[in-house]
């Protein structure tokens, strides 16, 4: 007579444990990658539809017509350049700074190469603002590349890229920090950090700098892949307590960052 060594439930638990360990191993050596890509590839069209439905349901005011979106995509590169030039022109009107005139020249002469992408979901981590894009390394996407929206507004950067998809972290995420400066007469430098996915704060602004509300904050270009002059937002309030070494400023992004649909990734 056979003797049962284990209860059948224990056996199944052990079997699942083994399967989990096996999956972890296969994933770590990369054997699972084609399967993961295939799942992602198959589900992508449905996810696009679902995401768009969610956007319509939760943020219908942000939806544009398909025709308009298509036109926007095609002209995105021109729009970005024009918007940046316009930003810089407006700024130069305010400050009459020769440095900013040089910036205009710089922006005019720079042609960024883009890859348009659609957001199709969000990674299942409540603490992060990690969005899944439908473009990956096959489309030239790499970690660290900046993600811009519509008129050259910096909305995030790529933190993970697979063959067919990539993860973008929003600039409002706590893990995001971007070198930036305020477009004023002295180009006050600082670092824009995300605050729990809810807001933006510019930190490490020297006390000697004079910044005002409504001034525009742009990327400084310190990071390897993020070019200078991408719009981050406007100063909405300033905290400059004298006992502190640095000032901090709250930054208001020009768009609602968790209601995006089509974005562009600056490849070069």
């Amino acid at each position: 007579m056979k003797q049962k060594i284990f209860n059948i439930r224990i056996n199944v638990l052990l079997l699942i444990l083994v399967a989990t360990v096996l999956l972890v191993f296969l994933h770590s050596v990369g054997i699972l990658r084609p399967v993961e890509n295939a799942i992602f590839y198959v589900l992508r069209p449905i996810e696009k539809i679902t995401y768009n439905a969610g956007l319509r349901f939760f943020a219908s005011e942000n939806i544009k017509s398909a025709v308009e979106l298509g036109r926007n995509n095609q002209e995105l590169q021109n729009q970005l350049s024009n918007a940046l030039i316009e930003n810089a022109r407006l700024h130069s009107l305010m400050t009459k700074s020769e440095v900013l005139q040089q910036e205009v020249e710089y922006l005019k002469t720079n042609n960024y190469e883009f890859q348009a992408a659609q957001i199709i979901g969000k990674s299942p981590h409540p603490g992060t603002q990690l969005y899944i894009l439908d473009r990956g390394t096959n489309d030239g996407i790499a970690v660290g590349m900046p993600v811009v929206y519509k008129e050259g507004i910096l909305v995030g950067k790529i933190v993970e890229a697979s063959e067919n998809d990539s993860n973008m972290i929003l600039i409002t995420d706590s893990n995001s920090s971007i070198g930036a400066y305020v477009q004023n007469s002295t180009n006050s430098p600082g670092v824009v950090v995300g605050k729990l996915g809810l807001s933006l704060e510019m930190q490490l602004i020297p006390q000697s700098e004079e910044i005002l509300t409504d001034q525009i904050v742009v990327s400084s270009g310190i990071e390897e892949n993020i070019p200078e002059g991408l719009v981050i937002g406007q100063v909405s309030s300033i905290s400059n307590q004298t006992e502190e070494l640095f000032q901090t400023a709250s930054i208001q992004p020009p768009v609602t960052l968790d209601r995006l649909q089509i974005v562009s990734i600056i490849i070069r």
Binding site: I8, R9, V12, L13, I16, A19, T20, V21, L23, V24, H27, S28, E36, I39, F40, L43, I46, E47, K48, T50, Y51, A53, G54, L55, F57, F58, A59, I119, I120, G121, K122, S123, P124, H125, P126, G127, T128, Q129, L130, Y131, I132, V159, E160, N167, I169, D173, S174, N175, L196, G197, L198, D258, R259
Partner: protein, 175 residues
């Protein structure tokens, strides 16, 4: 066989709804977790062994979209399922409305707490390049999700009771 295919299709649908419909439009914890709701339904309907296998599949599919170390979601999902199953078998004991709602609420709390614990663990072991334990409005978010999941469970229960004949015999009926 067709039952298994149906469950698999529903699992994919639930995953897509959670990742592409609900999560992108919230900061912090989503007000509803259809994944937990579905796990509750599975724990309510299935025996332990098939429940574990389906939980394994749900967790494995989550891993495709996760930046956490591979296997985390599998473990979280399976533990949640086991807790729900034993809660039903040992404490709630009958398959009526109240146990179903309570399971949905408990499942939601357990799932989020396990996720939070894993996030903190990975933060302190430097397993992630991205910090994901700073969840805005964590405790209130968990409570809201538990409440909304409870209400959703109530609606789901009534809906299934109306639509599915097979479901009706599992609920206590006043005679």
């Amino acid at each position: 066989m067709s039952k298994n295919i149906s469950i698999a299709i529903v699992i994919f649908a639930v995953l897509i709804i959670q990742i592409s419909f609900i999560e992108p439009f919230v900061v912090g914890i989503a007000p509803i977790s259809v994944v937990v709701l579905f796990l509750t339904l599975l724990a309510f309907r299935l025996e332990l062994i098939p429940l574990l296998w389906w939980s394994f599949l749900i967790g494995a599919l989550h891993e495709v979209y996760s930046i956490m170390p591979f296997g985390t979601f599998i473990v979280i999902t399976i533990i949640t399922s086991i807790v729900l199953y034993y809660l039903l078998k040992n404490l709630l004991t009958n398959k009526s409305l109240l146990p179903f709602v309570l399971m949905a609420i408990t499942g939601s709390i357990i799932y989020n707490l396990l996720f939070f614990a894993a996030s903190v663990l990975f933060y302190y072991t430097n397993s992630l390049t991205i910090t994901i334990y700073q969840i805005p409005h964590l405790w209130s978010g968990i409570l809201v999700q538990a409440g909304v999941n409870g209400i959703s469970a109530l609606i789901l229960f009534l809906l299934l009771r109306t639509l599915t004949k097979r479901f009706q015999n599992q609920f206590l009926v006043r005679k």
